[in-house]
C-alpha cells in the first residue's frame, strides 16, 4: 500500500545543473500535483495534471517543467537550477471527484548551492 512515492528524499545541486524529481502513485488517481514549500510558508502549486497527457501551470511554474505520459507517474524537471529553487517539493494525487482529498508523498528536500 505505497500511495505516493517520491524520489529522491534529499538532493544537493550546483547552480545550473538539472535534475528530475520522480513521483509515482499506485491508487489509479487521475489528478496529480507538484507543490513546493519554503520554510514557514504554505504549499505553492507548481504544476498539476488532470490525466495522462494533460498538464497545466499552477501559481509558480517558472523554472520547472512536467510531463504526464502515464497515469502513475508525474516527474518534475528542473533544467537550470537556481538558489531560489531550494525548497521541499511535495507531490500529491487525488481521484478527481469533486473535493476529493489530496494524498501526499513525504517530499524531496532540494538544496541548490
Amino acid at each position: 500500500n505505497a500511495g505516493v512515492t517520491q524520489t529522491p528524499k534529499f538532493r544537493i545541486l550546483k547552480i545550473g545543473q538539472s535534475m528530475t524529481l520522480q513521483c509515482a502513485q499506485d491508487m489509479n488517481h487521475n489528478y496529480m500535483y507538484w507543490y513546493r514549500q519554503d520554510p514557514g510558508m504554505g504549499l505553492k502549486l507548481i504544476y498539476y495534471s488532470v490525466g495522462a497527457g494533460i498538464t497545466d501551470k499552477g501559481e509558480v511554474p517558472n523554472g520547472y517543467n512536467v510531463s504526464r505520459s502515464t497515469t502513475e507517474d508525474f516527474p518534475l524537471r528542473l533544467e537550470l537550477a537556481a538558489p531560489s529553487q531550494t525548497s521541499v517539493y511535495f507531490c500529491a494525487s487525488s481521484s478527481g471527484q469533486g473535493g476529493s482529498p489530496l494524498h501526499f508523498g513525504n517530499g524531496t528536500r532540494l538544496t541548490v548551492t
Binding site: 505516493v4 489528478y31 500535483y33 507543490y35 514557514g40 510558508m41 504554505g42 504549499l43 505553492k44 502549486l45 498539476y48 488532470v50 497545466d56 499552477g58 501559481e59 511535495f90 500529491a92 487525488s94 478527481g96 469533486g98 473535493g99 476529493s100 482529498p101 489530496l102 494524498h103 501526499f104 508523498g105 513525504n106 517530499g107
Partner: protein
C-alpha cells in the same frame, strides 16, 4: 487571483481547551475548503472537507465551519491534546482556476501545552 489566508502563524493552547484556527479567502467563494495536518518532515494529511453549501462538518473532536458571508472557515479541535500539536493547512478548490486546482494557505502551527 483568489487567495487563501491563515492569519495566525502560531497558536499556543492549554491541553483540554478548544483550539480554533481561522482561514479566510478573498473575492469569490471556492466550491470547497479542505483542512490538512502536517507534521515536521512529512507530507500533509487530509482531515476534513466542507463544501460551499454546507455550514458545518464534524469528525470526532474536529469541527469545521464555512461562512460565505464572512468569507471564512473556522477549524476547531475540542479537548485538545499534546498529540494535536502540528501545522494545520487550509486549502481551497473550485475557484476560477478549475474545480480540482487546489491551493493552500500558509498554515497555522498549533502547540498544545500539557
Amino acid at each position: 487571483s483568489q487567495k487563501i489566508e491563515q492569519n495566525s502563524e502560531a497558536l499556543n493552547i492549554q491541553e483540554g481547551k478548544t483550539a480554533t484556527l481561522t482561514c479566510n479567502y478573498t473575492n469569490y467563494s471556492p466550491a470547497y475548503l479542505q483542512w490538512y495536518r502536517q507534521d515536521p518532515g512529512r507530507g500533509p494529511v487530509f482531515l476534513l472537507l466542507i463544501r460551499e453549501n454546507e455550514k458545518e462538518k464534524r469528525k470526532e473532536r474536529l469541527k469545521v465551519t464555512f461562512d460565505t458571508t464572512l468569507k471564512q472557515s473556522l477549524f476547531h479541535i475540542t479537548a485538545s491534546q499534546p498529540a494535536d500539536s502540528a501545522t494545520y493547512l487550509c486549502a481551497q478548490g473550485g475557484d476560477s482556476g478549475g474545480y480540482q486546482k487546489v491551493t493552500f494557505g500558509t498554515g497555522t502551527k498549533l502547540q498544545v501545552i500539557p
